[in-house]
């Protein structure tokens, strides 16, 4: 076989790679961006929050061990279960699987790093700072106490006047943004930075799972972000979205929350299932049976899970027929889960499994998750759910699903992948005990809860009377909870004894696994980037590890002298260009810190300091963006095999274009959710929309505004054309003095039309909905009002020209999108009431 690059490699090449990719030391280590470090910190932080939320659970179980207990007060108990649920979902489960993705994906795809390493570092710091302060709120009695689902009107200002609810809304809203940043990173990483030859049909199942996971975050999280925004608008400014007396409807929150909340379960489960699909072939030493079907199952689960949200609202009194649609979808989603479970069983049967610790956790997962899945089918039956809903049966079900479906695979993954990240593997002997304690603990803790629930114990009660006979079962559950705690403690001890972070001299491929993350590694990832010809390259391509390490494959060096990796085409993974990746820096760290500070200060109503932090956050984001978009600094480089690749791309081939599109999908979904909210509120106020006494502005306001929105899009298009023709300053003029004022003017006309007609957002849900639609466009107008002058500044400093226009293209897409969204908004707010009235 002929390799792209000859050996021996020139002197000094390896040293250069090492120097370029070396993480900073000392205090500067905070600025590190390598995925191998950020990924590990991220996982570590997630485990920390897992332990903390687990401790909260142990306090609750102690309180519930005996009837009429008064270990904790009712108010504190409510904070405990709210925090336990919120932290496990938002601070542990989602970040943990995202963190594993940040750590594993580049290695598994043989990229040197993710395409936006500072973005993942930003997401990590924002999450760590925001999450920690959020947790600490419990020591001041300020922790949210409305349940992790935060149903209004309990969480409205009237029934929750203190800041507790704001901590949830702002704290979690902000962490959701960090999750979205991570998801965009993962989509771009999986689609654009796979090793040459790793076409979609050769992609590891884990990468598929992470791709679908990230896609689900992009489409599910906007719903909860919007819900959070609406509730905070109601709490802070009295816009009555959820107050029945003023046209609001508490059920709107439930729809939005569960439109996120149900996919959330699969958002957590799919990456874990992806890990299982990686580990099972290794422990069986045979390729995964039914790869295509598993990929189908992953995609199918991702899509179908969006049809389940009312599954959580069976007791709200909706028409039976409506409920049944969701019952049907809940049944349909059982089929992809069945496919995966039988694929794993078939793979196990085709090989010979050694009962190592990862295998044990996989088997435990199969058992626990199957029970959770079956009780899931039971509660998908509407009549059964009317009994089981909001009882301990559901507590049992959801813990079987989430612990079985996520925690056990994650622990299997810890034991399985630690040899990649550490000098020593974890102890097999201790691992068996960890597994045993956790497995027995989970079943002792949660199995009895099925019965406790069926005999009538509701969820979220701080105590229960002795005469109901619930005491013994609760005591058993408490004992089980402590067994789980002991298992986790033992795991932490094992980690402390054996986990030694390294990249260069890791424990190596101890399991004889087939995928690329087991190639020899260092801070620069693999020495050269292999050509992949199989789904299991390390099994099917003999000598791959040595050849990669010797530098015989692509890009064994750093031809531009910066951090770089190969961007390949999304479907067929053919090399397309070399992307220069940013290295360590302070700006994203400071941006994360000030963003977190801004949100947290807003929570406690320190508005002025919050604004100052917000301005600083924007400043550091811009400073960070200033260094991006390097332009074609270097002529095309030879990566081996006669392949000369450009080092810069613009347009729809560029990774920044893909990231922007992902972001616009988030924005578009948010807006769609707002359209849904508008129509939903109409349905609660049929015949009174707009409410009596409120006039619609004349159509001239709408048409004037529409003309200006169109003009802004056209002027932006003109700016793009003139830039392409080399007339930089005409282009800048069109954008800064044409498109931007037209956009702001259009928004002003739009908003003033409603205002002069007498509409106020505080009076009725109708007005609140109209002004929120305007605000969602306003957010983009505001962003562009900052970003357009930023582009002009770049042009002035020679950082923007006909060739170097990736950042200009980002602005262009934003202009187009904003005009489009605003026009749809106009049609809705002016057209719909006229159509139904």
């Amino acid at each position: 076989m002929s390799f792209p690059n000859p050996t021996p490699r020139p002197e000094g090449e390896l040293e250069q790679l090492k120097r370029i990719w070396r993480p900073p030391s000392g205090l500067g280590f905070l600025t590190v961006v390598n995925n191998t470090y950020i990924g590990l910190f991220y996982v570590g932080a997630a485990v920390m929050f897992f332990v903390l939320a687990g401790i909260l659970a142990l306090i609750m179980r102690t309180q519930l061990a005996v009837p009429d207990n008064d270990l904790v007060s009712d108010g504190l108990y409510n904070q405990l279960f709210t925090m336990h649920g919120t932290m496990m979902m938002f601070l542990f489960a989602v970040p943990a699987v995202e963190a594993m993705g940040v750590y594993l994906l580049p290695n598994m795809l043989a990229a040197r790093d993710l395409p936006f390493p500072r973005l993942s570092a930003f997401a990590f710091w924002a999450y760590l700072i925001g999450g920690s302060v959020f947790f600490l709120s419990i020591f001041w009695g300020l922790a949210p106490d409305g349940g992790w689902f935060m149903y209004p009107p309990l969480t409205s200002i009237e029934y929750s006047p203190a800041d507790n609810a704001d901590f949830w809304l702002l704290g979690i809203g902000f962490i959701e943004i960090s999750a979205i940043a991570g998801a965009i990173e993962i989509v771009c990483g999986v689609l654009l930075t796979r090793a040459p030859g790793m076409s979609l049909d050769k992609m590891p199942v884990y990468a598929w799972a992470m791709l679908v996971f990230a896609g689900m975050i992009i489409f599910a999280f906007p719903a909860v972000i919007l819900a959070t925004l609406l509730l905070e608008l109601e709490r802070a400014f009295g816009w009555p979205f959820f107050i029945p007396g003023q046209g609001g409807d508490p059920l709107l929150w439930q729809h939005l929350f569960w439109f996120f909340g149900h996919p959330e379960v699969y958002i957590i489960f799919l990456p874990a299932a992806g890990m299982v699909s990686m580990i099972v072939p290794t422990i069986a030493q045979k390729p995964l049976v039914g790869y295509r079907l598993v990929v189908l199952a992953v995609i199918g689960t991702g899509v179908l899970s969006f049809g389940l949200w009312v599954h959580h609202m069976f007791a709200t009194g909706l028409p039976q027929l409506s409920l049944s649609f969701f019952s049907a979808a809940s049944m349909a989603v059982a089929i992809p889960s069945g496919i995966q479970i039988f694929a794993w069983i078939a793979t196990i049967a085709s090989g010979k499994v050694r009962l190592t610790t990862p295998s044990l956790f996989i088997l435990g997962f199969l058992f626990i998750f199957t029970i959770g899945g079956l009780t899931g089918v039971m509660v998908a039956m509407v009549p059964f759910d009317w009994q089981a809903h909001d009882t301990y049966f559901i507590v049992a079900h959801l813990h079987y699903v989430l612990i079985g479906g996520m925690v056990f695979p994650l622990f299997a993954a810890f034991y399985y992948w630690v040899p990649v990240a550490s000098r020593r593997a974890l102890s097999e002997k201790v691992g068996r005990w960890v597994f045993g304690l956790m497995f027995v603990g989970v079943n002792v803790a949660f199995f009895p809860m099925h019965i406790t629930g069926l005999i009538g114990m509701p969820r979220r009660v701080s105590t229960y009377p002795a005469d109901l006979g619930w005491g013994d079962l609760n005591m058993v559950s408490t004992i089980g909870a402590y067994l789980i705690g002991a298992g986790v403690l033992l795991f932490l001890i094992d980690v402390a004894r054996n986990f030694r972070i390294t990249s260069a001299d890791n424990a190596g491929n101890v399991w004889n696994a087939p995928t690329l993350e087991w190639l020899p590694n260092d801070n620069y990832a693999t020495r050269s980037i292999p050509i992949v010809a199989s789904r299991d390259p390390l099994w099917d391509q003999p000598g791959l590890a040595e050849d990669v390490e010797a530098g015989r494959y692509y890009l064994p060096n750093a031809p531009t002298g910066y951090r770089e990796t190969i961007v390949t085409s999304p479907v067929t993974a053919e090399p397309r260009y070399i992307v220069q990746i940013p290295g360590p820096g302070w700006f994203h760290v400071l941006a994360a810190a000030f963003t977190a500070a801004c949100f947290l200060l807003l929570t406690v109503k320190l508005v002025t300091p919050a604004i100052i932090c917000g301005v600083l956050a924007v400043f550091f984001v811009l400073a960070w963006a200033w260094q991006l978009d390097p332009g074609p600094t270097h002529p095309p480089v030879d990566i081996g095999g006669g392949l000369k690749l450009p080092v810069y791309k613009t347009g729809s081939g560029s990774h920044s274009w893909w990231a922007t599109i992902c972001f616009l999908l988030v924005a578009g979904t948010t807006f769609l959710c707002m359209i849904f909210s508008y129509l939903f509120l109409w349905l609660s106020n049929v015949g009174d929309w707009p409410p009596a006494g409120t006039a619609l502005p004349a159509l001239s306001w709408a048409s004037g505004s529409a003309a200006l929105y169109l003009a802004s899009a056209l002027l932006a298009w003109g700016a793009s054309r003139t830039l392409a023709a080399g007339r930089l300053w005409t282009s800048q003029g069109l954008l800064l003095l044409g498109a931007l004022p037209a956009l702001c003017g259009a928004l002003g006309v739009d908003g003033w039309g409603f205002w002069q007609a007498g509409l106020r957002p505080q009076d009725h849900a109708y007005g609140a909905a109209v002004y929120t639609i305007l605000c969602l466009t306003g957010v983009f107008a505001f962003t562009l009002a900052i970003f357009t002058p930023f582009l002009t500044l770049r042009a002035a400093f020679g950082r923007l020209d006909t060739a170097r226009r990736a950042s200009f293209d980002v602005g262009l897409l934003l202009f187009y999108y904003t005009a489009g969204q605003a026009l749809v908004g106009l049609l809705l707010t002016h057209g719909f009431p006229r159509a139904v009235g």
Partner: protein
């Protein structure tokens, strides 16, 4: 359904054990795509479709009201953290109001109009019917029927705030005659105090302004914020399922209900002189 679920679990476990432990030559057949097609696609498709149809048929039986039946209509309003219960006549007018207790005739359908005065609650008597939410601004209809006389416990199942755990009630199912008798008594005014001590208690009750929040029909007390106390002495519990209605419990509640059930809307009356709370409590306990 539970049995079916257990059987499927056993099947999965047995197959896994077989895949793990059987000799390689005998388990080979399991290691192919066929396994997924039959076990992972065909089998769940059939079971799940059958189950869905079965579930839909059961649900249809539950939600379809019987035509022309003589139903008792009751409005139940969830409040933080108790239940306002209003019996309605056939035209939907309020006959009388009570609290934390639902009396129903055995063998007759009772149609409950469920709503809420503040946050979302959920109405559930496990032995009688599934649960249904009480949502402010909406009215949900729950039909239930007790087949045997008895006292059934119910509890709020939607988290509704600090005292969610102590928001229970009792459903008392009575045979037809007993129910009619109860209905007659319950719709009348409160009993007159029989002794001077009880009259004294009523005086203090009215003078202290308890009537600003509570109603005792037949006296001047006509408050609507708190539970109606017209027949508090005959109820199953005090504080929405917390404790039996005794004079001691009532006195303790009056003196400091915030200690017993922190976060309920009743202010503490711990400034009352000695014996006064007891006098009121004895009066209330006599309201049967």
């Amino acid at each position: 359904m539970t049995v079916g679920g257990a059987l499927i679990l056993l099947l999965v476990l047995a197959l896994t054990a077989y895949a793990l432990l059987a000799a390689p030559e005998t388990r080979g057949w399991l290691g192919s795509r066929r396994t997924i097609l039959w076990g992972g696609i065909a089998f769940p498709t059939v079971t799940v479709t059958a189950l869905l149809i079965y579930g839909l048929l059961v649900a249809r039986g539950i939600v379809t009201p019987a035509v022309g039946e003589d139903v008792q209509r009751v409005e139940v309003v969830g409040e933080q953290f108790w239940w306002r219960v209003r019996y309605l006549d056939d035209d939907g007018r309020v006959l009388f109001e009570t609290a934390n207790e639902l009396h129903l005739p055995v063998g007759r359908t009772v149609e409950l109009a469920l709503t809420s005065a503040d946050v979302i609650h959920s109405f559930w008597v496990p032995a009688l019917a599934g649960k249904l939410d009480m949502i402010p601004g909406r009215t949900n209809i729950l039909r239930l029927r007790a087949e045997r006389a008895g006292v059934y416990r119910g509890q709020c199942t939607e988290f509704c705030g600090v005292q969610h755990a102590r928001m229970a009630f009792h459903a008392v199912a009575l045979e037809a005659e007993a129910y009619d008798a109860w209905l007659r008594e319950a719709s009348g005014p409160a009993v007159e105090p029989a002794t001077s001590g009880l009259r004294e208690g009523r005086e203090r009750f009215l003078q202290l302004g308890c009537g600003a929040c509570h109603a005792v029909r037949g006296t001047g007390a006509a408050g609507v914020l708190g539970p109606d106390l017209t027949r508090i002495g005959s109820r199953q519990s005090l504080g929405a399922g917390m404790m039996p209605v005794t004079a001691e419990n009532l006195a303790a509640w009056i003196a400091d209900s915030q200690h017993l059930k922190p976060g309920n809307l009743m202010p503490p009356f711990d400034m009352l002189p000695d014996g006064e709370a007891q006098a009121i409590a004895r009066y209330l306990e006599s309201l049967k």
